[in-house]
């Protein structure tokens, strides 16, 4: 780590009588999963580098309820939502950036009718904004000329129609961006959504993550780029399944930017 991460909680801001530009909703995977924590840190490094005044909820953050809702446990989902809304509204949060499309979808679409109204964006949309306004600049960097293919997360793409943000961010890497046949609206799921992440798959002829990573690996990429911690897990497993972990990296768009800038 080149420098210490500067992470301030909402509670600390409030104690100082200040309020941040934006709340960074880290999410459960981003907080606890060893691989996803690296994505969280990459996002923080970029925010620090761009001098974005952001806060986290820290120990006041709790699961949005997404996996419970997708699994049919509406009761647990709404309990989580009400708790989170109480905290978010208590801090008068206006704008949120999430590190995970599942958190994004839930906060953005399913909290408003329960009393939680915020402007919610995905971290690739924030990165797009920072690049567009010149708050971060990238010229080539370590991914120049590398072959990168982006796997659309279902909850960013089809669920919320965000297809351009991650791509427009990656254009700055001066890499060779390649599209899988099933991409954007037609992107194939990694297999983790709808609470599948937390259970064994049903009986079938193949694992979904194998099907998807096979498609990505057919392009002979150097990097499979993702925008979701769960996709990251699944695609990493898929790359391992084909014994390609030495030649193909699975990286979040935020990690690509942080590494390109050597943050």
């Amino acid at each position: 780590m080149s420098e210490k991460l500067n992470v301030i909680t909402m509670a600390e801001y409030k104690a100082k009588g200040e309020s941040p530009e934006i709340l960074f909703w880290v999410g459960c995977a981003g907080s606890f999963d060893d691989r996803a924590k690296k994505i969280t840190k990459a996002i923080v490094k970029i925010l620090n580098h761009a001098n974005v005044k952001f806060a986290v909820l820290g120990t006041e953050e709790s699961c949005t309820g997404d996996p419970a809702k997708r699994a049919g446990n509406e009761f647990l989902f709404q309990m989580q939502a009400m708790n989170n809304i109480t905290i978010l509204n208590g801090y008068e949060v206006k704008k949120i950036v999430t590190g995970c499309p599942h958190c994004l979808n839930t906060l953005k679409n399913e909290y408003p009718s329960l009393g939680g109204n915020y402007e919610v964006i995905h971290h690739t949309e924030l990165l797009q904004g920072l690049l567009n306004t010149g708050r971060i600049k990238i010229e080539g960097g370590s991914f120049k000329g590398k072959k990168i293919t982006f796997h659309d997360p279902c909850y960013l793409g089809r669920a919320n129609d965000v297809y351009e943000a991650p791509r427009s961010v990656m254009i700055n890497l001066e890499a060779e961006l390649m599209e899988m046949k099933r991409s954007r609206e037609n992107g194939l799921c990694c297999g983790a959504g709808g609470a599948q992440m937390f259970k064994e798959a049903e009986k079938g002829s193949k694992e979904i993550y194998v099907e998807r990573s096979e498609e990505a690996l057919a392009l002979n990429p150097d990097v499979i780029a993702v925008g979701c911690p769960f996709c990251n897990t699944m695609m990493t497993d898929g790359v391992k399944h084909f014994n390609k972990e030495d030649s193909v990296k699975v990286l979040d768009v935020a990690e690509l930017i942080a590494q390109a800038k050597d943050l």
Binding site: N109, A159, G191, A201, S205
Partner: protein
């Protein structure tokens, strides 16, 4: 005179029978729960124009889209000719629009003929795709039996209808050239129809006047007969999509696809926990309180309309990650099962006046938990559907019943629920450790 009476009786009979059966379908659909889909009228009209009328989503797959377009345009345009047939049949006239419309009439009927040829090609191609090429999505297990027969019957009926059109027009062309047609003779020697002026002499040239009149009449009566048969076949067939596609797209879900409904019944309970002074609205005691969907009547009318609109094309299933990887789930089968169960409930009501418990339900007898738990909620099926059917919403509603009413979620998911309840995360990590990453 007698033929006019027979014609009018046939027309009335066909119309009344269709109305009776269509009303039954409507009644079945309205067994569903209320959901507001009447907002944003202009946006809905626009969507219907683009997606139903304009077939926009069909063109994601260009080859079937073009073939389908031939049939679709031919079907729509042929309705103009049908108006003339109805007038002629009722009044005993023959090609009554021709004298008044003149050249435009020739153009119109010629246009219909050219489209009919294209539709003929399309139909043959569709039959081949199903029965010879065996396109994977068109030969999956859920299509065995009636669905496969239904599909072939529709295509064969379309071919028959087209043949009748050319019998009618072809024989009339030959008769006209012999000055024996019942059409007003304008002394041009030909009716000038783009296809039949060539096809007619080729097929029927040299036949006796008597035979030609018989062929012409068989074609004419066959045409209207097929139309009435088709109309009355619709309520029993997946082909109902030709009518329901329009309202179904009009009443589409306009929200982002990722947005699932928040159940009001649950919100009332949760609010009561958070605020003891909260008084939930009084529930209608006539509606049984149930979380999620076990039966078709637990679904909304839109979900039931979806099931009748489905024409079993299988684009949803062919894009479903679970189905692609050999799991039991097929979004198309979810829609077919919903419709089949709803039909069964409807027949039960017809027989008994009101629904009499038959010991069956949508969940279990038609759709199994294994299918439901294979879904990744990726929305590929919803994205694919050319008429905006939403199989995912049914899957989620049924999961809700399994979890909240039966407490029968897969064991691992129960573990995940417990973790969220206790630690605020789906894994066994304490909430107090949530910011540890900062210093690691």
């Amino acid at each position: 005179m007698i033929s006019s009476i027979i014609f009018i009786l046939l027309l009335l009979g066909g119309g009344i029978l269709f109305t009776i059966n269509a009303r039954k379908v409507r009644r079945n659909i309205l067994l569903g729960k209320e959901i507001n889909r009447k907002d944003n009228f202009p946006q809905r009209i626009k969507l219907m124009t683009l997606v139903s009328l304009g077939q926009r989503k069909m063109f994601e797959r260009p080859i079937p889209a073009i073939l389908h377009l031939f049939l679709y345009v031919a079907f729509v345009i042929t309705q103009i000719e049908l108006i003339e047939i109805i007038c002629d049949g009722s009044l005993g006239s023959h090609r009554m629009f021709r004298p008044a419309l003149g050249g435009f009439y020739t153009f119109m009927v010629s246009f219909i003929e050219i489209l009919s040829v294209l539709a003929f090609i399309g139909t043959i191609a569709f039959l081949s795709r199903r029965n010879l090429l065996k396109v994977p999505r068109l030969v999956k297990n859920e299509l065995n039996g009636w669905p496969k027969l239904d599909a072939n019957l529709i295509l064969l009926s379309e071919i028959t209808l087209i043949c009748f059109i050319f019998m009618m027009n072809g024989a009339d062309e030959v008769l006209y050239s012999l000055h024996q047609s019942h059409a007003v003779d304008l002394n041009e020697g030909t009716l000038g129809l783009a296809i039949s002026s060539h096809l007619g002499p080729f097929l029927f040239g040299g036949m006796s006047e008597h035979s030609l009149h018989i062929i012409e009449r068989v074609g004419w009566w066959g045409h209207i007969g097929m139309v009435l048969w088709f109309l009355n076949y619709l309520p029993y067939s997946k082909h109902f999509h030709i009518l329901l596609a329009f309202p179904n797209v009009f009443y589409s879900n306009l929200n982002p696809k990722g947005k699932f409904t928040n159940m009001d019944s649950v919100t009332n309970e949760v609010k009561a926990i958070f605020d003891p002074s909260f008084v939930p609205p009084v529930a209608d005691p006539n509606i049984p309180m149930r979380f999620g969907a076990k039966e078709v009547t637990d679904l909304t009318w839109k979900q039931l309309l979806d099931s009748y609109t489905c024409t079993e094309c299988g684009r949803c299933t062919s894009s479903c990650p679970a189905n692609i990887t050999g799991k039991l789930l097929s979004p198309r089968k979810i829609m077919m099962s919903t419709r089949d169960r709803l039909e069964e409930v409807g027949k039960n009501m017809d027989a008994n006046g009101v629904f009499k418990d038959d010991g069956k339900s949508l969940l279990g007898d038609y759709i199994t938990a294994e299918e439901l738990w294979a879904c990744t909620s990726c929305n590929a099926c919803v994205q694919e559907c050319p008429v905006n059917i939403d199989p995912l919403s049914i899957i989620i509603d049924m999961r809700r019943f399994i979890v909240m009413e039966q407490s029968a979620a897969p064991t691992e998911l129960n573990g995940m629920f417990t973790n969220i309840e206790n630690n605020g995360a789906p894994w066994q990590f304490g909430q107090a450790d949530r910011l540890n990453w900062k210093n690691e």
